[in-house]
């Protein structure tokens, strides 16, 4: 039996000066790189395939398979071009807060992963695209990359292997859509971050129209452990189709919010228990769970009824939502679901890149309708109008941002229709916005 929590990526976050090269190496860091450089690149791809690692950026695409799509036959047009690895460190999906602490505490785990992954796909240049709004995290990654150069882990002829790699740390400038992989490539090419039409897929024509792998920070940071400890070690954790460990981020109304690294398949009931339970109310009373997101605001909300759903790709999918980024935002009964959903919808409206009409216009209409409802000014027909508007966005938008914008709305109407109606009966929001705050309670977020 695997233990309830399995710290691997988070294991050294508490070590003094954990971000420094000597500290990382003292704990065995860059050992996996040495091993990898002695392997054939294809064998690394095979090991990552065998491990069962699936993308940790939300969609869960098998990482090794993604790497194997990179054309390597130099006699073909695409295969003859340079290959690129791009790390998606844009972490902006509301609720998601795992990559940022990873890069702040142990940036070398990411850098080592970048080198091994680039070697596997035969890239000689890699980019780490970090959202711009996290200054200290950017400092730590910049410093880790320069330390790695000085130690000979990067640059020309790495450790005598004949393999060359340069890594560029690139700061974004504020745009959620740049987390979408093709919009990210646009940003990295110095353009407005608007998604590209697919096909061609980035594996064939990505950055500079060359074969490109784009992976999430946590996916790439998991690679050294797979190479170091073996694919079987990794796949001994998790569930049948969702292998390995992942960082689960609990935020909101639990007593001890934070990062919990566990095998995929753990349940929210277990996690809330580890997090000291749902918070204690201002009067000392035990509060109850009302709703939660399994993987960020773009994944349909779930309720009390889903406490025992295994948090893996299949389990959450069967429950009508998505595992996403394991961003577990927990809301207790003091929270108005309409207010929560309206705020997320305003976010999507603000972040819509404007490229396609359903999302650009649709998110505007959604906020109009939701605002009316939150203010108690609409009518019951507005709920049908909302669902109709969602219908016109879902599946008709150019990228998944538009689809994601509908998730909180449709799921909240599914589970909390009565609460929407209560706003109409009450002539406004029946909730006290102070009651849900961290400073309204004793003992919350201790």
């Amino acid at each position: 039996m695997t233990d309830v929590l399995t710290p691997v990526l988070t294991a050294d976050w508490g070590t003094p000066e954990s971000w420094k090269l000597n500290v990382y190496e003292a704990a065995g860091g860059y050992g996996a790189l040495k091993k990898a450089l002695g392997m054939a690149p294809d064998d690394i791809i095979t090991a990552v395939k065998d491990s069962g690692l699936r993308g940790r950026g939300g969609a869960g695409f098998p990482t090794g398979m993604k790497w194997s799509f990179i054309p390597q036959d130099a006699s073909t047009e695409a295969g003859g071009k340079p290959k690129y690895l791009v790390v998606n460190a844009d972490e902006s999906e509301p609720g998601t807060c795992k990559d940022i602490p990873l890069m702040m505490a142990t940036p070398h785990t990411l850098v080592e992963g970048v080198i091994i992954s680039s070697y596997a796909i035969r890239a000689n240049t890699a980019f780490i695209y970090i959202r711009g709004e996290v200054l200290h995290v950017i400092r730590r990654v910049q410093a880790a990359v320069s330390e790695a150069y000085l130690a000979g882990h990067l640059g020309k002829n790495i450790h005598g292997s004949g393999y060359d790699l340069d890594v560029v740390v690139h700061a974004g400038a504020g745009a959620y859509i740049c987390g979408e992989e093709t919009a990210l490539l646009e940003g990295l090419e110095g353009r407005r971050g608007q998604p590209r039409l697919r096909p061609p897929f980035p594996a064939v024509a990505g950055l500079y129209a060359s074969p490109t792998v784009i992976n999430n920070v946590e996916s790439i940071a998991s690679v050294p452990s797979i190479i170091g400890n073996g694919a079987a070690w990794f796949s001994s954790m998790g569930t049948e189709k969702s292998k390995g460990f992942g960082i689960f981020s609990l935020s909101g109304h639990v007593n001890v919010p934070g990062q919990y690294e566990a095998p995929l398949g753990i349940t929210l009931r277990q996690l809330i228990d580890l997090a000291g339970g749902i918070r204690t109310g201002a009067g000392g009373q035990q509060m109850g769970l009302k709703f939660w997101t399994p993987g960020g605001s773009s994944t349909p909300i779930l309720t009390q009824a889903h406490l025992d759903v295994p948090l893996d790709f299949e389990g959450v999918g069967e429950a009508g939502s998505m595992l996403g980024t394991r961003a577990l935002q927990i809301f207790d009964e003091t929270t108005c679901v309409v207010r929560a959903v309206l705020r997320w919808t305003e976010f999507y409206k603000h972040e819509s890149c404007g490229k396609c009409t359903p999302c650009r216009e649709g998110t505007w209409w959604l906020t109009q309708t939701l605002t009316r409802l939150e203010n108690g000014e609409g009518s019951a027909e507005d709920l049908d109008l909302l669902l109709d508007q969602c219908d016109n966005i879902l599946g008709r938008s150019f990228c998944a941002l538009g689809d994601g914008a509908t998730s909180p709305i449709t799921s909240s109407i599914q589970y909390f229709r009565d609460e929407y109606l209560a706003h109409l009966e009450h002539g406004g929001c029946p909730f006290d916005p102070m009651a849900s705050t961290a400073f309204a309670t004793v003992g919350a977020n201790q």
Binding site: V8, P94, G132, H136, A173, G258, F347, E351, T437
Partner: protein, 225 residues
């Protein structure tokens, strides 16, 4: 005006990339660090270096929210009002600060010290309600702590991020974003308290990732046993 030194650094940024246009985002960060905002001169300089039109550069500058076309104060103060933080008190904090500083969203105080803005989720939800000063974390805020924070900034006191270094000015921060590191990387902790809670529970219970069978291990990674 773009100085010769700045122009040289803009060229240096462009040269980091296989194709120079990739330098545009960090180049615009550098423009902000020298000019305090995106300026027509800065746009022209980027356009000249990248051999694209000024309209194209403008189109990029207007797309990204971190680029400002009005002067920014010494301290950019962001209050997260995305759902999780809003519910946890971000809305009250933002309202309190607007009132206390007598500014609206994305406006700067008359003395030019503080620009207040409500921001989207900054990937720190486990520390809600979250504020950012010049893009450094100020975790677990209350309306009272937020007022104290901006008062300290305006009084010129040294303010330290709750999970990071002493806070530099907005222009200095923009320079780091342009890829010119300062000397603050080793300040502050590796992780804040919330980042470590799962690790603590695991240690208390002696929970680890599976041991690696010695035949397959290089001892490189994995559980830190």
């Amino acid at each position: 005006m773009i100085s010769e030194d700045t122009y040289a650094e803009l060229l240096e940024i462009a040269a980091r990339y296989p194709e120079k246009r990739s330098g545009l985002l960090p180049m615009l960060h550098l423009v902000q660090s020298t000019a305090g905002q995106i300026t027509p001169e800065g746009i022209e300089a980027c356009a000249a270096i990248l051999e694209i039109s000024a309209a194209e550069v403008s189109g990029v500058a207007t797309f990204y929210t971190m680029y400002k076309r009005r002067p920014v104060g010494d301290y950019h103060v962001g209050v997260c009002t995305n759902t999780l933080c809003a519910v946890m008190g971000g809305d009250q904090i933002f309202a309190t600060l607007k009132d206390h500083l007598d500014v609206g969203n994305d406006e700067t105080t008359e003395d030019g010290t503080i620009t207040l803005e409500h921001i989207e989720c900054n990937a720190a939800c486990d520390y809600a309600p979250v504020m950012m000063v010049n893009w450094e974390f100020m975790d677990n805020q209350t309306p009272a702590s937020a007022v104290q924070l901006v008062d300290d900034l305006r009084a010129g006191k040294v303010v330290t991020s709750t999970r990071g270094p002493r806070i530099c000015t907005w222009r200095e921060a923009e320079r780091v974003l342009a890829g010119f590191p300062d000397d603050r990387v080793d300040e502050g902790p590796g992780a804040g308290p919330a980042s470590l809670v799962g690790l603590k529970v695991a240690r208390e219970n002696n929970w680890t990732a599976p041991q690696v069978s010695t035949s397959s291990t290089t001892g490189a990674e994995g559980s830190d046993q």
